[in-house]
């Protein structure tokens, strides 16, 4: 479903993402792990077509992000770090607008919006203006926007950041539901980024750890923790090792 081939992003001399490759199959839920500033958001932005990679490419649901850009963008539902909402619109009119620009056919539009509202638990608030919604509901509207039109790939950038524990639990079960859908719902491949380890353990079966712009670990969680180590130990070890390598380099210079 997602095939990243040597993705790199440089801003002048600063390397944000350095030669990251991975392959994610249908129905997988993969956690993108890494400290803040590791390049998670940049990688996701490259997959969604918001930023072009400096080098490398990616293939989303069979569409190359350069050669078949529009089809690749159409295959992705994307929740950026801050949910992309128009505060002055009502929840429902916002979702209808998103359905229009995502080219959900006119006949199916109403149903698609209703389904997104229902799946994201927005049944009580869809008439309200977005600026009056709580942070948890806004996040859900953001997720509803991403799943509109049933894209085969969902890319969620820190979907639970800033939410309270109860809301976090609800969002997590929502996400878990995308990969294991009920009747009549499409199975989706989910990539989500986070720096909360418990979250990855709760919903993902596989982890990709990025640190300093490079891929450090790409393995199923069961395999990682089979040696008796917790994810936290592995995370700390990998990110610290990277930091110490950087320090050594600075020392030599």
């Amino acid at each position: 479903m997602i095939e990243a081939r040597g993705l790199s992003k440089r801003y002048g001399d600063v390397v944000a993402v350095d030669d990251v490759s991975f392959s994610i199959g249908k129905g997988e839920v993969v956690g993108f792990l890494g400290p803040n500033g590791a390049g998670k958001t940049t990688t996701m932005r490259m997959l969604t077509g918001f930023l072009p990679p400096t080098e490398g490419t990616a293939v989303i649901a069979g569409h190359d992000i350069f050669e078949d850009a529009v089809a690749a963008r159409r295959s992705v539902g994307y929740l950026p770090e801050t949910p992309p909402l128009y505060p002055e619109m009502t929840c429902r009119s916002y979702l209808t607008y998103v359905a229009k620009i995502k080219e959900v056919p006119r006949a199916a539009r109403r149903g698609a919006v209703d389904q997104a509202i229902e799946r994201c638990g927005l049944g009580d608030v869809y008439r309200r203006v977005i600026s009056t919604l709580s942070k948890g509901f806004r996040q859900r509207v953001g997720i509803a926007q991403a799943i509109l039109g049933d894209p085969p790939v969902l890319i969620l950038d820190e979907p639970t950041v800033g939410l309270d524990p109860l809301q976090i639990r609800e969002i997590r079960s929502l996400i878990a539901g995308f990969a294991a859908p009920g009747k009549g719902e499409t199975q989706q491949t989910v990539v989500l980024s986070t720096h909360i380890l418990a979250e990855v353990e709760a919903i993902c079966r596989r982890v990709i750890l990025i640190s300093g712009g490079r891929k450090q670990i790409d393995a199923p969680i069961t395999e990682l923790t089979s040696g008796g180590r917790s994810l936290e130990e592995i995370f700390t070890q990998e990110t610290l090792r990277d930091a110490s390598v950087d320090q050594d380099l600075e020392g030599e210079a």
């Binding site: 969604t48 529009v70 963008r73 950026p80 992309p84 909402l85 128009y86 002055e88 229009k100 620009i101």
Partner: protein
Amino acid sequence: MRHIPTVAGRELRSMFVSPVAYGVLSLFSILGGVFFILYVAEFSEWVFRLQQMQAAQQLEDLNLSDHLVNGFYGSMSMVLLFLIPGITMGLFTAEKTNGTQELLLTSPLSIWDIVLGKFLAASTFVVLLAAIVGMFPAILFLYGDPEFGKTASGLLGVLLVGWTYAAIGCFASSLTRSQVLAFLVTFVILLCILLVPAMADLGIAGGASGVAEVLRWLSTGAHFDELAKGLVDTSDLAYFAVMIGIFLCMTKAVVESVRWR
């Protein structure tokens, strides 16, 4: 391209949710009324004086189109200079501060869909403004006999000036995240365009008549005056089309550059 009305529709609805659109429309109507009364008062004063002086020839020359409607259109297009930056300043800046820019650029929309959609929304608003301007000369037709052709072509001038300003506003709004800055940049560009012919006349262009000619061509005012005089010339219409085209192309380039920065 088929998503232009979708983008424009959302933009217009958002304009009318906030009080800004209503404020601008009310302010514009009030200013229109004030200017109109002033011009009518001035006109009747002239008529009165010329009658007293029994200057039959001048009375004959005095007419509503040239001595009232023209001046009124000119004043109203000056008001647009202040109001249009206020309408266009939010077009692209709000997308950036809301984070919705990421939604638009990762959707199947093309950059032209976004840019032309926003411009269509702003120009629809300008049509409303022009309609307000047109209301006042329409009153004159009830009580007098202004020339219809001149009145209509002058109004077309107001509309084209407004659209040109809107295109410039789109461009300024795409440059920055700050609405205030977008307003100021639009205003500065508009002022430059307004002042360019004055510079040309002062001979800053170094006396090279070719350069002065180009500078004078760049100014909106001269082309507007031709239309207000009732002269609908292709070269003037082309000027507005070229200006709008240039600024929309630059807007498109700026919006697209987010992808390549």
